[in-house]
């Protein structure tokens, strides 16, 4: 009797809901809707709009804005200028962060204070950093005064309004960011792995290069990408501490000028799209390299 009942009930309950649930689809997914709408409306749509605008220049064919960008050396060279600033700055930030984070990965007194102080530059913002660099590294700033008064140089070193000013500003804001990221990746690596290597006869260099570094590599790639993004979009500091008509005429300046000085929105959008594309190419290369490394759990076993 009850067998009959169960038969009819289970037959009459189409298990669609169950089958969807087995695959992970249920009403809870509606919680994703607001955020998705936001990102689509405020990021994807404008982005596509930008692409559309870039394809509708005042004159010339659909690709005229891109052609104009790539045929004018003054515009085209902003790509290399930007890369020449962003790549070394990001690389420096990541690779300087590694030995320091490696030193600081354990617990020690004052670690929290030190990391806290390191966070300060992240909050300074590019404008204040630029102002500070101009004051500090300027021809008669403290830095040059020290060099001059200790007779290390007899002419002030020029570190502002050029390539170096922008790089330094990217290091000041980007290094702490890279450092904290690397530190957190490092502390995610099971410390017993290095101890295990030590008991197997590995000295510190072997422990670092054979155990820690390979396990850290994927994290470094991610760190590089995030730092590179920050550096690649350098804008205020390229104007304020850089040489915005020459050595530090980065691509964001070109985009800005197209939009707000020449009022050529197609050119501006095209420049912005080129900028995004170049950035994605770099990131894809790095992430492609990253996939060559072991990327699983960095725990030493069990679980």
């Amino acid at each position: 009797m009850s067998g009959l009942a169960s038969e009819s009930v289970s037959a009459s309950t189409p298990a669609v809901r169950h089958r969807l649930a087995e695959r992970g689809i249920d009403p809870q997914l509606f919680l994703l809707v607001p955020a998705t709408v936001f990102v689509v409306a405020l990021f994807i749509y404008p982005f596509c709009y930008g692409i559309a605008v870039s394809l509708q220049p005042a004159q010339g064919g659909a690709l005229a804005a891109y052609r104009a960008f790539f045929t004018d050396a003054y515009q085209r060279d902003t790509i290399t200028t930007t890369l020449a600033i962003a790549l070394p700055a990001a690389l420096f930030n990541v690779f300087a962060a590694v030995p320091i984070a490696y030193r600081m990965r354990g617990r020690f007194r004052g670690k929290r204070l030190l990391t806290t102080v390191l966070v300060v530059p992240i909050t300074l913002g590019t404008v204040l950093t630029a102002e500070g660099l101009l004051n500090f590294l300027g021809p008669t700033g403290w830095f040059n005064r020290i060099l001059l008064s200790t007779h290390l140089v007899d002419q002030p070193v020029t570190l502002t309004h050029n390539y170096w000013g922008v790089c330094l500003s990217l290091v000041i804001t980007g290094f702490p960011f890279a450092f904290l990221l690397v530190l957190s990746y490092l502390s995610g690596i099971d410390p017993t792995l290095e101890r295990a290597a030590a008991t197997l006869g590995a000295g510190w260099a072997q422990r670092f290069f054979r155990i820690t570094l390979p396990l850290l590599a994927p994290g470094l790639a991610t760190t590089f990408c995030l730092t590179f993004v920050l550096a690649f979009s350098v804008f205020p500091s390229a104007i304020l501490v850089g040489d915005p008509t020459g050595g530090t005429r980065v691509i964001s300046i070109a985009a800005y000028e197209a939009a707000y000085v020449r009022y050529d929105y197609a050119a501006a959008s095209a420049t912005a799209i080129v900028m995004g594309a170049v950035e994605l190419v770099v990131i894809s290369i790095v992430l492609g390299l990253r996939s060559l490394f072991y990327t699983g759990s960095t725990a030493g076993g069990k679980g």
Partner: protein, 277 residues
């Protein structure tokens, strides 16, 4: 352990690097602070004399009161909305695997991976087109673009580390979905939400590009005002610009000190378990 750190020659190099970095940092910040109190500082180590007048001047010249008010309002709105919108999405991403979940995750990652200026220019154009840009609403909307994903990305691991069986336990005790959220999840998420909001505030205060591209007469935040004070036309005393920079810096530091009560410094950029011993 400590003994070995001191002994190692590599350590000297590392601590040397750190010291250089800190010295540079101190120089950068210090020179701004000193200048903001200085009277006539030409070719000397320190200004001829000191005054606080630049602060008063910056306050009136740059109409800092409305600027600070706008900054505060923008930050609170951005933080509030991104938490409201981002946390539910983070919850789903943390708890559920469904077809396309990686795609959705990528969708949320993109705005953080893109330089703000890349999407800022078309975004500003769109926002102007719909009449948002030039107003507070436009600034808030523009700042939400990286903030919502940021909240999602910081909250996802935070939610992941809350044992899902706690929610199941609540259900087994008879709690409906609403109660699971209000009585169990919400209190547990409070520290994470606080941390994420503070970080959003910090980022929004410092977000130059997007605000710059969308701000109007009544919606400039402090960084944008600061940028204008440095680059807009006219003659102004460098010291009062520096005074404004110091005000900005102090504001950020206060935020930072508050933030660090809730989050570990390394978590400001990524959330990873500390010291798994």
């Amino acid at each position: 352990m400590r003994g070995r750190i001191v002994a190692s020659p590599g350590a000297w190099l590392v601590w040397g690097l750190v010291a250089i970095f800190f010295a540079g940092l101190a120089g950068v910040i210090g020179s701004v602070v000193v200048n903001s109190f200085g009277v006539r500082w030409f070719d000397t180590w320190l200004p001829e004399s000191y005054t606080t007048q630049w602060y008063g001047q910056a306050w009136t010249d740059f109409t800092l009161l409305p600027v600070l008010t706008v900054t505060l309002v923008v930050c609170l709105l951005v933080a509030g909305i991104s938490v409201l919108v981002g946390v539910p999405a983070a919850y789903v991403l943390a708890r559920r695997k469904f077809p396309g979940s990686r795609l959705v995750y990528l969708l949320f990652l993109l705005p953080i991976l893109m330089p703000p200026i890349t999407y800022g220019i078309p975004l500003a154009t769109v926002l102007y087109k719909y009449g948002f840009a030039g107003h507070l609403s436009g600034v808030v909307l523009a700042n939400l673009v990286p903030s919502v994903p940021f909240v999602i990305l910081t909250m996802t691991p935070f939610i992941e580390q809350i044992d899902p069986s706690i929610e199941r336990a609540a259900r087994m005790c008879g709690a409906r979905t609403r109660h699971v959220f209000t009585s169990v999840l919400a209190p547990l998420l409070v520290p994470g939400i606080l941390a994420a909001s503070i970080l959003v505030v910090v980022r929004t205060v410092g977000m130059f590009e997007l605000t710059f591209l969308t701000a109007g007469p009544d919606s400039q935040t402090l960084v944008v005002a600061l940028f204008y004070s440095m680059s807009a036309a006219g003659i102004r005393a460098q010291q009062s610009v520096d005074a404004m920079a110091v005000i900005y810096c102090v504001m950020m530091l206060v935020l930072l000190v508050v933030a660090l009560r809730f989050v570990n410094p390394t978590q400001l950029v990524a959330r990873v378990k500390e010291d798994p011993e």
